[in-house]
Subunit: 873 residues, 2 copies
């Protein structure tokens, strides 16, 4: 029979799946001799059994739990329910993946009237005992009995008012006893039964409540946001209590071995004297910096620093620790790898490597690719910032700059974001209920809470700018007003946040591109040594191309030509081309565009040098270039002297019911071969001219979009090749070029073997391939995808990360078939998935040669490619 | 070295690929001793060489040709260019597949001034010799030299006018000589060189012209329409001339061994005294029925009847023969299997089987499945017809009834059809240039031409109603007026045609469903013995279901439920459902719909009995049920008392950029589970009630549309199963049911193995599957597909016949994966391809259990399924 309950002394850090992260680390700390209050872990398997058995804990597991309780009683000399020396425990969840703030915790379990008396006698501190029992009833009622917390708060605050005290500490033991009596009456009124007195019953109910909380809404949402499987279950840690709230020689704290903000190698954290741990984490009281602990408790701090050093070396990573000091004795309550900003992750990974603690590969794996984005985020334009009005200062909880309109609830922030409004979420303090709003917000501002408050931890994880604990603001969530001094700010007013400095500015402040640190360059040099995938960028102009090169792009995977068509001085010619009645008229209009296009391509070639550049022929349906409203048509008619009726007729003629599946891509070049001819001529002429002027050997890659079958590709390829060869002959140039295709229509992927007979390269257009393979119009199905994710039908957004089972299957088929026809077929991806780490790993495994993404995501792609190479070695 | 030229005596009917159809049959007739003028065939391989060598005939082939000419000279005793006894030949194309009217023919080749004299002396008929030369120049100039025929006609008609004669025969030899002189002058003026005199040069130019004509526009169009590969090439038949125009003891004719109109077993054909073959085929002169030949040439006719009998038994099929009588001697010029109407094909196949000439399988294969359609076409409502005004009578060239607006050119008929107008094409006579118009027309009416004229032959092949040779109408194509007596009819006026009787009626005459003959039942009984595919129908109401059963449907493969939503008394409830603000309001509206839906399903179950019925849950996007114009919205607002702004807002909210890929199919049921619940309840309740009242064991099949992945299917399946089980429990019913899915999203096909874990059947929705796999919006890409076909990029319309390479590949994958998960998975197709013979054969090969098609196409599907079974044995 398998074991469902483990003492901390029986486990180790490798047993995370069974004991959860917290349990495994408590066991590990116990194992390496650190001061951990004793206890045991009820496993994730027990949680699964609980769900299998419809919310019951079977007698076998119950028996195991109480045999561990007995062990604990023996080791501590305390006893459950003992009036003289009662055993009190904390009950905490501990899932396999850290889920901060998601799961519920109960402290001081084991208290009732008798044990409270015992605790009072033992500690010679009746007020402490009363307060502990009061806290226990409140927590247990909230978490286990599910009675609204506000009702308890009302009793508590009422008492304070009655007594005319401002702080909790103003209440005496008798006041607390009175409160306890009222709490119990409340429980009875709510549930029709007494608050449970028996510690054994308290324990079993608490364990069940933790199991239950695995499936509470916040937990489900967090798992969805973080792609954590829903069937892992949580473990439960039962640990004998130590008290940080036993007076001024006690306290509790949270600390990191290095700074999670910038990675600096010194202990970083917060400490609260005479408090229990929840006070720190929940951000209810604003704690002191850890440096003050060093002054107040020099010996305890020295011991803590020593343990921190041991833990970091042992885990070979920066640790996030919780601890309690009970009457000058230090206890470790938790350690885990600490969440950190991208900048901190970078510095810590590079430093740990330099310190010889980890190797290059580990350093590279440590930097979460998605998080790297933060380093590339804009900061404020310093000149503009100098002119900006500083409104308030809070804690620099998560770095970066954000500007937007303020909203006071998650729902309103979501609604604003859906309308394309950049939102700043302003809250008294955030809670897991605010997650959806935090996801869409540009930045987060809270009035309360510290650097490890919910808002701060979550914002850092998201790489989102956050100013927390900004005490000088008053937030009236109900009336949607924020007050700073005498100034009032209403919903929709603009603010700017500097998360790196913790400053709030009035109005909109312009931002600028980030600069990249030396550590960044060091880590990226390791990344480039390791990765095998090439990284290209999607860029349509020399500016973006140059930016991408600075970020390490090795070529252009997708140069769209339609953006060039939209520029102001060209659009009249584009429209003339579309409105042409004859091939001759169309050619005339295209002749006007030709020099512009050539110029565009020259500019790009000049920046890119001999790096490969893939240029896609015109792709969008032509109606996109025409106006649509009656007024715009009248206006255009006046501008270009074409009768409005003719314009309207053309617009109507070009209207399509499903333009996504309409007259676009290579279909345009088949109807209007002149377009392909003009573009091919512009591309090859530009390359020849730049080769000549710069002494290069550029090999342009001409890409034909939306190909569904070989005959289509061949038709357009012939137009391109005939044109290009004529130019080469005319110019007597010595130049190579490639003609390839997008694979973005499912049929193209299905017949890739045939298409590869003619196509010299493939580039997967995974945006369209996803639309057609899944039958999801990207413009229309945002809501559906959101609904599917909420209902658990989809794990992630297939437009963000490749649907590997469906779309990926087509890609694999196409790669295999294409390469079997043409072994040296060059394969890439130019959909927006090219910048998504999971998709990049998929592309690596599938054997693509390169991924192409927006300039901004090039570093992420490089890192993700290296991580994919390491993971798939 | 391979042989490029074969004497008729060297070949046989199996050599069709090399000698073409005509050449192989001329060889076969020679082989079995029938009277065939001697000659030889230049092979299709020579044609391919001609194209490979850029339009040149190499010296080796030329040498072979002239060695065969020498052989011919020896056998006939005549000589090319001999003034006394000149050898004259016909040169005709002969492709592998019969292409009537598509290729060009030259008669009397070998004539020049000298041989004309010789011919005159030899036949003692100078007028005949002159006329032969005149015809030769005219034909050769048209076909080989490509000088417009009209210019020659003008000279000829001018002469007739000058001489004041009405008929060609009114011209004397001298007149013809004068014409010949003018013809030659015309050739010289047009080409700057003399008309070729040397018979060898004439022959080589003629052979090349035939090769060239393989790629003339008419031939290309015909091949495209009939899916004939373009690389087969044509053979050329060179045959010594016999003359049907040697006076009244001569003649020429075309005949069938049985009637190609109704299959009656007696010789059917036409004959023209003193004429050359082209006169009959081109419909220039209206010939006499063959019965008159029996009176005029009893012995020759008896001989011809004997030969016809031999040929039919030899080829085991009805033959279409061309013959010439030269001075009472019969010559066979061609035999081939005759084209026939569906009714004739049916009767001939059944009769030949009864006569013991062919077996059942051959009889089944003889009936072209696509053509069967004709038998199912409507005929006129006899009552309405009795009241209709008869305008004119022509030849009953192709049976059936048609009614529509008249158009005088192919272009206008095409334009009208594109606007959804039913068109009748009215022409003086049709030519291959009119094909596109004939394809779209409901019926064809010509003023000239016989039962074997171009219009008649092509119309019968298409199963299209045609009245030909309607001499009492005058057609002024230029002014778009048709005159009958004193009445004028203009473009757009309505006419009705009875192709079975050859009658033209004024205005619109209502039509009725066809009745099916005993032969039809006989043949279909053989079909049902042979086929293994089941045939279901797509039907949404009892009337269609009953019609389909009469046509032999074995179940319903697709019952769409949305059509039921559109009915007048229900649409208000549907709209209330869509406009509901709360689930409760939505349920209320659905409660109103529920009894209607239940009634619909009961009606269908009552008709279908225990035959399987697959009902699809609501599929189309909801905006389809709302009005869209401002006026309609105002109107609806008044009707249902909902503010117009609210309506407009909802319409805007439901608007999608690509509705094809939007909120529809199972996605609707995921957002609005109440819809699935209502429909499931209606289906199962209806089945239970009909089972009870009729004592049946109906097993309804509930189909979930647009499934892309298993989680979607499972979500909706659970709604359905929970509802159905609740009804079953409530009603204490003993009933089975199936829940399955459409496979119509590419991802659904790609993950069919997973989906089959939950789905009990698959039905391929090949309309949508084609749209998404190929990226072709059916509503938008009609033009693109037409253009692709014209440019040779697509062989056929993928919405008519399954794209087997792409879409078919997905189907095969899905069948394989689905069956490997669930070996008894039931597989069908319900896209419109289910009625297309080629697609049905594909479905048979792919292992589907059934195809489902519109009621009207059920017999075609049955026949195609049997043919597929025979071909794939």
């Amino acid at each position: 029979m398998s074991q469902f309950v483990y003492s901390f002394s029986e486990g180790n850090k490798e047993m995370k799946n069974l004991l959860g992260g917290k349990g495994a680390n408590l066991a590990e700390m116990t194992k390496i001799g650190l001061p951990v209050p004793q206890g045991f872990t009820v496993t994730t398997e027990a949680c699964k059994r609980y769900y299998q058995e419809n919310g019951e804990i079977g007698p076998d597991i119950r028996k195991e739990i109480f045999s561990k309780v007995a062990e604990l009683e023996e080791n501590t000399g305390k006893k459950f329910g003992d009036k003289k020396n009662p055993l009190l425990v904390s009950v905490r969840s501990g899932a396999v993946f850290s889920m901060p703030g998601m799961m519920d915790t109960i402290l001081n379990l084991g208290l009732n009237e008798e044990t409270m008396e015992g605790l009072a006698a033992l500690t010679e501190n009746p007020r402490f005992a009363c307060d502990s029992y009061r806290r226990f009833i409140q927590m247990f009622s909230d978490v286990v009995l599910e009675i609204p917390k506000a009702k308890f708060d009302a009793i508590f605050e009422g008492k304070k008012e009655e007594k005319g005290v401002k702080y909790d500490l103003g209440l005496e033991a008798e006041d607390l006893l009175d409160i306890i009596g009222k709490y119990k009456a409340l429980v009875k009124a709510e549930l029709g039964r007494e608050f449970p007195r028996d510690p054994a019953e308290q324990l079993m109910e608490a364990v069940k409540a933790v199991f239950r909380s695995w499936n509470n809404e916040r937990a489900i949402l967090y798992r969805k946001l973080n792609n954590i499987p829903s069937d892992l279950g949580t473990a439960v840690n039962v640990q004998s209590m130590v008290f940080g709230n036993m007076g001024d020689s006690s306290g509790t704290g949270v600390a990191f071995t290095r700074s999670p903000v910038n990675g600096e190698n010194r202990i970083f954290g917060e400490f609260l004297v005479n408090a229990q741990g929840e006070d720190v984490v929940a951000g209810i009281r604003t704690p002191q910096p850890i440096a003050e602990m060093e002054e107040a408790f020099p010996e305890v701090y020295a011991e803590f620093a020593r343990i921190a050093g041991i833990l970091e070396k042992h885990y070979k990573d920066m640790q996030d620790m919780e601890f309690t000091v009970e009457r000058n004795k230090l206890y470790m309550l938790q350690t885990r790898s600490g969440k950190r900003t991208a900048a901190a992750a970078m510095k810590i990974a590079v430093d740990l490597r330099k310190e010889g603690i980890i190797d290059k590969e580990t350093a590279v794996l440590r930097q979460e690719a998605g998080q790297l984005d933060q380093l590339l985020h804009p900061t404020f334009n310093q000149k503009k910032l100098a002119a900006a009005r500083k409104l308030a200062k809070g804690l620099p909880a998560s770095p970066g700059a954000a500007t937007g309109a303020i909203y006071f609830t998650a729902e309103e922030a979501v609604a604003a974001a859906e309308q394309g409004i950049k939102a700043i979420l302003v809250r008294q303090e955030t809670s897991p209920e605010d997650l959806a709003g935090m996801v869409v917000a540009e930045g987060i501002l809270t009035a309360r809470g510290g650097m490890t408050s919910h808002a701060a931890v979550v914002a850092r994880g998201m790489g989102k700018c956050c100013v927390a604990g900004c005490a000088s603001i008053q937030v009236d969530e109900e009336n949607k007003v924020m007050t700073i001094g005498k100034r009032q700010f209403h919903q929709g007013d603009f603010l700017s946040l500097d998360g790196t400095e913790g400053v709030v500015y009035q109005g909109h402040v312009a931002t600028i591109e980030p600069e990249l640190s030396g550590d960044f360059q060091t880590l990226m040099s390791w990344v480039d040594e390791i990765r095998t995938l090439r990284i290209r960028t999607n860029a349509d102009n020399p500016r973006d191309a140059a930016q991408a090169i600075r970020f390490g792009a090795e070529g252009i995977g997708l140069c769209r030509t339609e953006h060039m068509f939209f520029e102001e001085e060209r659009i009249p010619a584009v429209r003339r081309m579309i409105l042409a009645d004859t091939v001759e008229e169309r050619k005339e209009a295209l002749d006007l565009l030709m020099p512009y296009q050539k110029g565009d391509f020259k500019g790009i070639f000049e920046v890119m040098g001999e790096r490969p550049v893939t240029i896609r022929l015109l792709d969008p349906p032509l109606h996109e270039f025409l106006p649509h409203t009656e007024e715009e048509i009248q206006e255009l008619s006046r501008q270009i002297g074409v009768p409005a009726e003719k314009l309207s007729k053309k617009v109507a003629e070009l209207h399509e019911f499903n333009p996504m599946l309409g007259h676009r891509g290579c279909r345009l070049c088949i109807t209007y071969p002149e377009i392909a001819v003009m573009q091919a001529e512009a591309i090859i002429t530009a390359a020849i001219e730049v080769n000549k002027s710069m002494g290069l050997k550029i090999v342009p890659e001409i890409m034909i979009p939306l190909v569904g079958f070989k005959a289509e590709f061949d038709y357009v390829k012939k137009l391109v090749v005939d044109t290009v060869e004529a130019v080469i002959a005319r110019e007597k140039a010595d130049i190579k070029y490639l003609v390839g295709t997008m694979i973005e229509v499912p049929r193209g992927a299905l017949t890739a073997g045939e298409i590869a007979e003619s196509a010299e390269f493939f580039s997967f257009g995974t945006n369209d391939l996803t639309q057609m393979t899944m039958g999801f119009s990207r413009d229309d199905t945002g809501k559906i995808i959101r609904e599917y994710k909420e209902k658990g039908l989809l794990e992630g957004d297939p437009f963000q990360s490749i649907d590997q089972t469906g779309v990926g299957q087509l890609m694999e088929m196409a790669c295999k078939a294409g390469r079997s026809t043409r072994p040296d077929l060059h394969l890439g991806i130019c959909g927006e998935h090219g910048g998504d780490p999971a998709s990049i790993e998929f592309c690596h495994r599938t054997g693509l040669d390169y991924v192409s993404c927006s300039p901004f995501r090039v570093p992420i792609a490089r890192l993700a490619a290296a991580q994919a190479a390491i993971k798939n070695r």
